[in-house]
């Protein structure tokens, strides 16, 4: 079909009723400290990757929790698993393990080919 340069923009709204939160559930079960995050951004502030590229661990957490999984998969690859973020978290969240578990969850899930 001829392309005329028009497109329909995809809505930006998070639809919590229909989003898939199985990745979040997978992590909650294995790393309960994931629930304690208060979205303060300490982890992202200290993250080397975050200061060099567009990557925020805090944002990644929230997107997983809301079931915005497409955006998460790309981001996950950027984390070097250095563990600096664990040192600053005021809520004792095992941040590094969350990245590890998220990768695992995507690999196991048939819905997401990684």
């Amino acid at each position: 079909m001829e392309k005329f340069g028009f497109f329909i923009s995809k809505g930006r709204q998070i639809n919590y009723d229909s989003n898939d939160r199985s990745i979040a559930e997978y992590i909650y079960e294995r790393e309960p400290s994931f629930r304690r995050c208060i979205e303060c951004g300490g982890c992202s502030a200290t993250c080397t990757t975050g200061s060099m590229t567009k990557f925020s661990l805090r944002e990644l957490h929230i997107l997983i929790k809301r079931g915005e999984n497409d955006k998460v998969m790309e981001s996950l690859k950027k984390c070097m698993l250095c563990g600096k973020c664990i040192l600053v978290c005021p809520r004792g969240v095992n941040t590094r393990n969350i990245v590890v578990l998220a990768k695992q969850a995507f690999q196991k899930s048939a819905a997401y080919a990684i």
Partner: protein, 340 residues
């Protein structure tokens, strides 16, 4: 003859002040507009942060007034309050005139009338209720949606009528964040299958063990906290509630369908207090609460000599603070009477 003090308001502050003043050897009359004392304690079931039964605090306060022979007048409102040279004349709706050497005003707060925030549909949609309505449900031991079914997805809106120019209240009511956390936990305990969402602008957990309770709500009870002000609620054809909010930390708008929406109503200066301010020429602040003469060291003193404030008629306070403030008022009254 011992001096006579009139205490106006039989809630937490009034009961504490009246009981203690009487214990000091003063002759005390306590005036209450309702048929019973205890004020808002009568409506709240369990208290934060330790979740004790509110009746325990009420029993303590009423025990204090009974043991000390406070004269209690219920169903009484004030029609006139004048200061005459060195005493006060208090005229009540039943035609009594009380002559007092000092007055303690403990008229408390009213809960914000949530129907004023029309965008949330309280009083219009079946499944929008307030924090106070939920306490009634806790007391009955039955938490249900309007049609009697078990609610599964439940949302809690923080700051209803507080921190809101549109509601005319710029201040933070201080206690609704912790109330939201407490109520979310209580619902989860009652219905382990339920999912809870708190929509907040800031989590203000400024009290002993409040933050710990917030953490417990997340960790033990899996309560979800989403930062954003709910802009509006609407009702679906099957009476569910759809809310719109920006998930500000995700930077995206979010919509969600809920079985029950609970509004955390804020605290406002009571109507009784506003009326009294007019009758007695008492100063009120921009927030409409009574304005004490000094914010730091005169928080019980009014602009009328011999008339003192106790409790939430001056600003939002929790029960611990209210009781402390009432005790401070007692010491001001005792000082004043000694020197007058």
């Amino acid at each position: 003859m011992s001096k006579h003090v009139v205490v106006i308001g039989g809630g937490v502050a009034g009961l504490e002040a009246a009981g203690r003043l009487s214990r000091e050897g003063l002759d005390v009359s306590l005036l209450e507009k309702d048929s019973i004392t205890g004020g808002h304690l009568n409506r709240w079931f369990k208290l934060f942060p330790d979740r004790r039964d509110s009746s325990e605090v009420k029993d303590y306060l009423e025990g204090l007034t009974h043991a000390n022979n406070v004269k209690l007048f219920t169903n009484v409102t004030i029609e006139k309050l004048n200061r005459d040279k060195d005493h006060f004349s208090v005229l009540t709706n039943d035609g009594k005139e009380l002559i007092a050497d000092a007055v303690v005003v403990a008229t408390g707060f009213d809960l914000f009338k949530s129907s004023r925030k029309e965008e949330y549909g309280y009083g219009i949609y079946d499944n929008v209720i307030t924090s106070a309505d939920l306490e009634d449900m806790f007391r009955k031991g039955e938490i249900t949606a309007a049609d009697g079914t078990v609610p599964k997805k439940i949302g809690i809106v923080h700051c209803v009528g507080s921190r809101d120019e549109k509601a005319g209240n710029l201040y933070c009511s201080k206690l609704c964040c912790v109330t939201a956390v407490k109520q979310a936990i209580e619902i989860r305990e009652h219905y382990p299958e339920s999912t809870l969402f708190c929509f907040y602008m800031d989590m203000r957990m400024g009290g002993a063990y409040y933050e710990e309770m917030y953490r417990e709500a997340q960790e033990v009870w899996s309560v979800n906290f989403i930062r954003g002000k709910v802009s509006e609620a609407s009702e679906t054809i099957d009476k569910k509630v759809v809310i719109k909010v920006e998930d500000t930390l995700a930077g995206r708008p979010l919509k969600m369908t809920l079985d029950l929406l609970i509004l955390m109503a804020g605290m406002e200066m009571s109507e009784g207090g506003i009326k009294l301010a007019g009758l007695a020429g008492l100063k009120t602040g921009d927030n409409r609460f009574f304005e004490a003469t000094d914010h730091h060291f005169g928080s019980n003193k009014s602009n009328v000599e011999g008339l003192f404030y106790a409790g939430t008629c001056t600003s939002p306070m929790n029960i611990t603070e209210t009781i402390s403030h009432a005790r401070a008022a007692v010491s001001e009254v005792v000082d004043y009477l000694k020197n007058s």
